[in-house]
């Protein structure tokens, strides 16, 4: 079962910026224990562009699809046997990256 683990940062109260070494070490462990599928940090939401091509012409708009204080700062994709395993890892992940995380299963 695959889970998307979204890292949520908060513009008015951002998490600390010195987490890279800890995250790298955590990722090494995820790989060693067979949970790791993919991970990546995301650039600031200022760098986002939304495209809507459902009409006659594609419309490009600057910024993320939803403006809010909280935003998606990065993602993990994990392979885990069940939600309890994913939640346990996510509890650690939140501490490691000093941010909230959301766990959501893929269909």
């Amino acid at each position: 079962m695959r889970y998307l683990v979204s890292v949520i940062d908060d513009k008015s109260n951002p998490g600390s910026t010195d987490r890279r070494p800890a995250i790298s070490a955590f990722n090494e462990r995820l790989i060693a224990e067979g949970y790791w599928v993919f991970a990546g940090g995301l650039a600031d939401t200022d760098a986002a562009t939304v495209i809507d091509n459902r009409g006659e012409q594609a419309v490009f708009s600057d910024g993320p699809f939803v403006e809010s204080k909280e935003y998606l700062a990065g993602v993990w994709v994990w392979e885990a046997p069940d939600l309890d395993v994913a939640l346990k890892l996510a509890t650690e992940a939140s501490k490691v990256c000093d941010r909230k995380v959301e766990v959501r299963p893929f269909l």
């Binding site: 079962m1 046997p81 069940d82 939600l83 309890d84 939640l87 766990v103 959501r104 299963p105 269909l107």
Partner: protein
């Protein structure tokens, strides 16, 4: 009630959770388990009056429910899952002794999983473990049947989609997961004991009974857990006073006015036994949790033959212990009631006035304050506090009691 009807009711009480749990394990799906269990009980209602009650009702119900589940799976053509298909092909697989109890416990842990919202945990536990119908649960928590149905459906869908496992939590997780289960059962009990809503009975005996029954089940499954024993004792000692707590005209009767002869001696004896068991454990160095301390407080109250015999210093010592464990303003408020008995209403009032901001919307804060002000002869302020308490109280018996106390003021 005829013998057969009684047997069916008893089987529903005793076997519902077992049947649902066994089917959940076998088919890995709460929906299938629940629907098949319901169909099996419906079949029992149809057949048992004519054919007689089977010698082992639990086994009959599990077998019947399994067949119903298999029929349902075949009908719905859910043949995609090879594993499930393999299990379907055979009839009941042999069950090692003792596994059924573990099944029920696992079922409780699914229903009270921390990834589910609290209301969903309560609803799902009452439905899957308690066997209450959706309209019954909806009535108990004052929501529309459709709302409750959606809540349960959504919780089941999340269990399936997010793959919440059907298993015992690991040893590390067990204490926190058990405390979640106990919190759900305590919520059910409290809703029964101080039922909310203008049109409800002040006490919902069905809910307190159900909460006690489920806590007994947990106690049987986890006999060494101190907080499980504590919660059961707390419920029993509270339930023991149920009939004395409401007057003939539906008004709440405060502890000092209750007819202590009407308390249930059997429940008190059982509660006291559990408290003594926990006191022995505490003496051996096991620190008690909040339910055990609350149970001990209730044991002190139920030991006194008269309100004047109450050992208030013991009550206060227990509250001091509880405050260290849970420094919440509600605990501080209840502690102040014991202070009032020992040091007088003025000292207690000074304590609770410091809680004004935190408890501004809590009816019991205003009711306690009103009583202390009344005892100090400050009638006008007392009246205002009673009025605020009446506005906030959601229990019909309590509203009636507070109204009478207000009207007695000079």
């Amino acid at each position: 009630m005829s013998d057969v009807e009684e047997a069916i009711t008893r089987a529903h009480h005793d076997e519902w959770a077992r049947v649902v749990a066994a089917l959940t394990r076998r088919f890995g799906d709460l929906d299938i388990a629940e629907e098949a269990a319901a169909e099996a009980f419906a079949t029992a209602v149809e057949r048992w009056p004519a054919n007689g009650v089977p010698p082992n009702p639990g086994a009959w119900l599990t077998t019947t429910a399994s067949r119903k589940a298999i029929d349902r799976i075949r009908r719905e053509n859910k043949r995609d899952d090879k594993h499930r298909e393999a299990q379907m092909t055979y009839d009941d697989p042999p069950e090692p002794v003792g596994v059924i109890d573990d099944d029920r416990l696992r079922l409780i842990f699914i229903c009270c999983h921390p990834a589910l919202a609290t209301e969903a945990r309560v609803a799902l536990t009452l439905r899957m473990v308690g066997g209450l119908t959706v309209p019954e649960i909806a009535r108990a928590f004052l929501v529309q049947g459709t709302t409750m149905e959606q809540r349960i459906t959504r919780a089941k869908a999340k269990i399936k989609a997010a793959r919440i496992p059907y298993r015992m939590p690991s040893a590390d997780d067990l204490p926190t997961r058990v405390s979640g289960v106990l919190a759900v059962l305590f919520l059910v009990f409290n809703e029964g004991y101080l039922a909310s809503g203008p049109d409800t009975d002040p006490v919902r005996h069905d809910l307190t009974t159900e909460a006690i029954r489920l806590t007994r089940l947990i106690r049987a499954l986890l006999p060494r857990d101190g907080e499980v024993a504590g919660l059961l004792a707390l419920m029993l000692l509270t339930e023991a006073r149920r009939t004395a707590r409401i007057s003939a005209n539906g008004e709440l009767v405060a502890l000092d006015e209750q007819d202590r002869g009407a308390w249930d001696a059997e429940l008190i004896a059982e509660g006291h036994r559990l408290v003594r068991e926990r006191l022995a454990a505490a003496a051996a160095g096991v620190a008690p949790g909040r339910y055990q301390i609350l149970a001990a407080i209730n044991a002190v109250h139920t030991s006194a033959r008269d309100i004047r015999d109450t050992d208030w210093s013991q009550v206060l010592a227990l509250y001091d212990q509880l405050v260290r464990l849970d420094p919440s303003p509600i605990i501080a408020l209840n502690r102040a009631i014991a202070v009032a008995e020992l040091d007088g209403p003025e000292v207690a009032l000074a304590i609770i006035d410091r809680l004004a901001e935190a408890l501004a919307g809590y009816h019991a804060y205003h009711a306690t304050r009103a009583d202390l002000l009344r005892r100090l002869g400050r009638s006008q302020q007392s009246r205002a506090a009673y009025e605020r308490a009446i506005e906030l109280a959601g229990n019909t018996g309590e509203t009636a009691y507070l109204t009478r106390r207000r009207d007695q003021l000079q």
